[in-house]
Structures are given as C-alpha cells and as structure tokens.
C-alpha cells in the first residue's frame, strides 16, 4: 500500500534563543509544545525534519529597506530590550534568529522546487542529527519516498518570531522580518513562480503582507481575521481591494468577535476558494496562525481544534488543483500552550490527508 505523502518540517533549536522576556505570549515554549505533540502523534512517521539557514541579505532586502535591517541589528547589539514599541521585545540573539526564521521559507522552497526532502531525525525533538525518518517510538522507517511524493507532501516552517505584521521599514506586533513576504519574493524572483497567493488564517490581519502586495498584480493576499474594529492591528477592512495595478490583489474577510467554525468555513469554501480558483496562482504560501482557537485569549474568535484539519485539507486540495502542489506553510501566531500542539497537529493531518 502506497504511504501517504511526506511533510517536511523546517525548524531549528536556535529559534528558542529569541527571548521576549517574562510577560509576553510569544515564547519559546510555543515551538517546543508543537514539536513534542507532532513527535508523539500519529503523523510522526510521515514527517521529516530539516534545519534552516539565515536568509541572505538580498532576500531580506526584497521585503525590507536596508535601513530597517541596520536599525534592527544595531538595537539588538546595543542591548535594547524592545524596538519601537514594548510589544516588540528583543534580546541579543533576536536579529540572528529572525534571519533564520526568514530563511526557513527559502530552504523549504528550494526543497519543494527540487522535489526532494533531506531526511533527518531529531533525537531531542528539535535538532537534526542523523539521516532517517522520525518515528513515534524512535524506530527508523525505511519507506522510500519518490520525488513526486516528496513534492506532493509540501513543507511547513515551524519558526519564531512570526512575521506577518512586519512592514517594510519597521516591526509591528512582535514581528520583525516578514517571513511570508521574503518567501514570496524568493519564489517569484529566484524560482520564477510569478503569481503567488498568501492565504492567512491567523486571527489577526497581516498588515505587512497586505502592504507588500497591494500595489501589484502578481501577488494576492487573502485573509480571514477578527474584525479590525475590535482586534489588533486595527487594519484589514473588507473594502480594501488593492490599488492601481494591484486592484483585486487583496481579499479581506473580517469576522466579528464570537465567530466560530461555521462562519469561517462559509468563507473558506465560498469567497476564498472562488478567489484562488479564479486568480490561478503559480504557488501558494499559507500564513498559519492558530490564535483564533476558542481557548486562545489573543482573539475573540472561537474556532475549534478540528477546524484546522479542514483548513489543511482545503489548502492541500487547492494547491494540487491550481499550482502543481506547490504549497508552503509558515507558522505565525498561536499562544495558548494547552491547545497549540493539537491545533498544529490537526492542520498537519489535514495537509497529509490528501
């Protein structure tokens, strides 16, 4: 019997080094709980781990002004504990960690385009050591993956700090480099996949992604988020469609506080599916945030864990149908540790279920 496709996880123990202090929701434990859950769960035989690399300066500058790069690096080296706003907590390693987070997308895209995944095991759940595939009980599976299966399996970057609030010249909402925009530019400019869609299901509007895309015809940003009148960052109104050549490149679908699975799915299977089908992307990036969960205090949305599996299935289906299976997911938010692991696992199950 043919095994289901592989999912490559891009992550690194150095992501834990970004220290946001004692009273901040964006903490290293988020990644630890996600990886522990995945390692112990039913999906683990079908997951493969890959390390990251620092994003090259050229690709950071495809999304950000060089002035911001200088300012960020100077702030961490001079020992500042936050930059521009106390929301944006930093430590000495934060610049380096942020480049590794942005680089994860580049690593993933190279793998997807090559159609192979380097297979590594993780002894402590985080750091790649020896070749093999990770399995629940530590046994190494020898199932041979074909190149097609590896490509079909897609990639998921488990990174921090998150990125979708970061703007060209400044940080926002504890995002410093816009991981999704850096990845999009790499896919467009280095691999020639001209038309990129970013679908964002984080509870908060990705203002940084919208800013980057709203004047261009070849990039599309679709976001379902809590209504900006009630939720950070106060952007992402439904009437915003893009400007000039970018008219039609933005689709904002706000949900009122208290909205749950039913309202989300109506949008997912309705306007989102329609827009993506009509727009015909060459590749798809998913900004995967899990803070719309009902247990997560960072939003007033009330999604269930099971919703994330349905999202995974949908994005998998769309990417197979419309863009040859080119699907990259990048972790954004999700802060309630008691449900974060299982939420990500549900999403992964959805990605694998195809």
């Amino acid at each position: 019997m043919r095994p289901p496709p592989l999912l490559t996880l891009i992550t690194d123990s150095r992501f834990l080094d970004h220290d946001t202090g004692s009273d901040h929701p964006e903490i290293p434990a988020r990644l630890q709980t996600i990886l522990a859950t995945l390692q112990q769960g039913d999906c683990s035989p079908f997951l493969s781990l890959q390390g990251t690399r620092p994003a090259e300066r050229q690709w950071l500058m495809a999304a950000h002004d060089e002035g911001w790069l200088f300012r960020f690096e100077e702030a961490v080296l001079s020992g500042k504990t936050f930059i521009d706003h106390t929301d944006n907590q930093i430590c000495y390693d934060s610049y380096q960690v942020a480049t590794l987070a942005a680089g994860a997308g580049l690593v993933a895209i190279d793998l997807l385009e090559q159609g192979q995944a380097e297979q590594v095991t993780a002894r402590d759940g985080l750091m790649p050591h020896e070749p093999g595939t990770m399995a629940k009980d530590g046994q190494v599976s020898r199932a041979p993956w074909t190149a097609q299966e590896r490509l079909a399996g897609a990639a998921f970057c488990l990174v921090r700090p998150p990125g979708h609030h970061a703007e060209r010249t400044r940080p926002f909402g504890f995002c410093f480099f816009n991981n999704c925009v850096v990845a999009a530019r790499y896919w467009q400019q280095h691999h020639g996949r001209k038309r990129i869609v970013v679908f964002d299901f984080d509870a908060h509007h990705g203002n940084g992604i919208q800013s980057a895309f709203e004047h261009e015809a070849d990039s599309l940003y679709v976001s379902i988020h809590e209504h900006p009148s009630f939720s950070y960052p106060g952007t992402g109104y439904a009437d915003e469609k893009g400007f000039g050549a970018g008219r039609g490149s933005i689709l904002n679908l706000p949900l009122s506080p208290g909205a749950g699975d039913e309202q989300f799915l109506a949008l997912l299977h309705g306007p989102v599916a329609e827009k993506i089908a009509l727009w015909q992307p060459d590749a798809m990036i998913v900004a995967a945030g899990f803070d719309g969960h009902k247990a997560d205090e960072m939003s007033g949305l009330l999604y269930s864990t099971g919703l994330y599996e349905k999202i995974g299935q949908s994005v998998r289906g769309w990417s197979n149908l419309h863009c040859g299976g080119r699907l990259l997911s990048i972790l954004e938010g999700g802060y309630e540790l008691t449900v974060l692991g299982e939420s990500v696992e549900a999403y992964v199950q959805g990605l694998l279920a195809w």
Partner: protein
C-alpha cells in the same frame, strides 16, 4: 482643527469667460467634480459643478444630428451662463466641525475657503472624511478601539488613565460620549496587541468593556 491645516491650497479654477467644452475637459482630466470660478483678482464669483455641465450638454438620448445641432449652441455658452452664484464657503478660521455642519446642511460636495472674498483653498467631503479618519485613528496600524461602560461611577476617567499609565499601556485616543438612549461610553484607542490583558485589568478594577 482649523480648516487652514486641512484644505487644499493649490486650487484649480475656472473663469467666467471660459467655454463649457473647455471647463468640461478641465474637470474630466483632473477627476474633480467642483470648480470655483474666480475673476481676474482671484475673487470668488461662483461655483461650477459636473452636474451643471451635464445639464448643459445634450442628452445622450438624442440622435447624432440632433446632438450636433444642440452642441453648437453649447459650444458658444460660457461658464458665467450656468455657474451658481449663491455659494456657501468657509474661512481659514473655520474648523473641521464648521465644515461638517455645512456639508450636512447644504448638501454640497465641496466648499471654497475665502479670505475676504478671495479664494485661498478648497475643501471637499472626501477631505473631511480623511481628516476625521486621521483624528480618530481609524485604521491606524497597531491600534484597536475599546469601548467601556460609563455607569457614572466617580473618578472613572482618572481610574482608567491611571491604570493604563501604571501598566505602561500606550493609548492614542480617549473619548467620552453621553448617550442617554444607548448608554454613556468611554472609548479608548489602545496601541498594543495586549487587548485581552487590558480588558482583564479593567475588569479586576470594576470597569467593564462594552461594544
């Protein structure tokens, strides 16, 4: 809040002697709907709108030859023939509120700003929306509006502001509204992601959010 801060100073104008076709292309090229009409001293003598022009030009329902015939007459008409001469305006000392009340009352789309009869600026309904949007911080990145029940407890404003300042929570707008029908409210524009913890902080102090 003075209009001189918000008005457009470089105003496109028409003269009373301009022909209608000439002024129509001026409006179309620049995507405006209103043009102040000034004399050679820069004094306002009237306003001409795209609506005035549309009534002056031949109907699209006419045949080609009917239209050409009517057009010959229109070509010879001037701005002075169709402009409105009874115009309401603002002065540089008018405020945004003056503009809003005037728009509301007069139903016009743009207001000339006059200094002793001389045209010094123009201010449209669109400019008013933009000014209030900026004033209230609507769509300001990184901010959220939080409404609080104002149930008349004493020192409520002081307590709210003290709590926010003690916990170093940035906020950029504070508004108190008396509304007998819907209940009094205080609105805060918070400049942080920490909305849930601000709500908890307020609740613990007996201050309750309201939508």
């Amino acid at each position: 809040m003075y209009i001189s801060r918000y008005m457009i100073r470089e105003v496109l104008t028409a003269t009373p002697e301009m022909s209608l076709p000439e002024v129509r292309s001026l409006l179309n090229e620049n995507h405006f709907r209103h043009l102040p009409v000034v004399d050679k001293h820069g004094q306002l003598v009237g306003m001409i709108t795209d609506r005035d022009l549309r009534s002056a030009f031949p109907s699209s329902m006419l045949t080609e030859s009917e239209r050409l015939q009517a057009y010959e007459r229109v070509e010879k008409a001037t701005v002075a023939d169709i402009m409105s001469t009874e115009c309401v305006g603002l002065t540089p000392e008018s405020t945004l509120d003056d503009a809003l009340l005037l728009f509301n009352r007069e139903g016009v789309g743009a207001l000339p700003v006059l200094d002793d009869g001389r045209l010094v600026g123009i201010f449209s309904g669109g400019d008013l929306l933009a000014a209030y949007k900026e004033l209230f911080g609507v769509g300001e990145k990184g901010s959220v509006l939080l409404g609080i029940e104002d149930d008349g407890q004493s020192n409520l404003m002081t307590r709210i502001v003290t709590l926010l300042e003690q916990h170093e929570i940035p906020f950029t707008r504070l508004l108190r509204i008396h509304d007998e029908e819907h209940g009094n409210r205080i609105y805060l524009r918070l400049n942080t992601y920490k909305i849930a913890s601000v709500v908890n902080l307020l609740r613990e102090a007996g201050i309750y959010p309201a939508l």
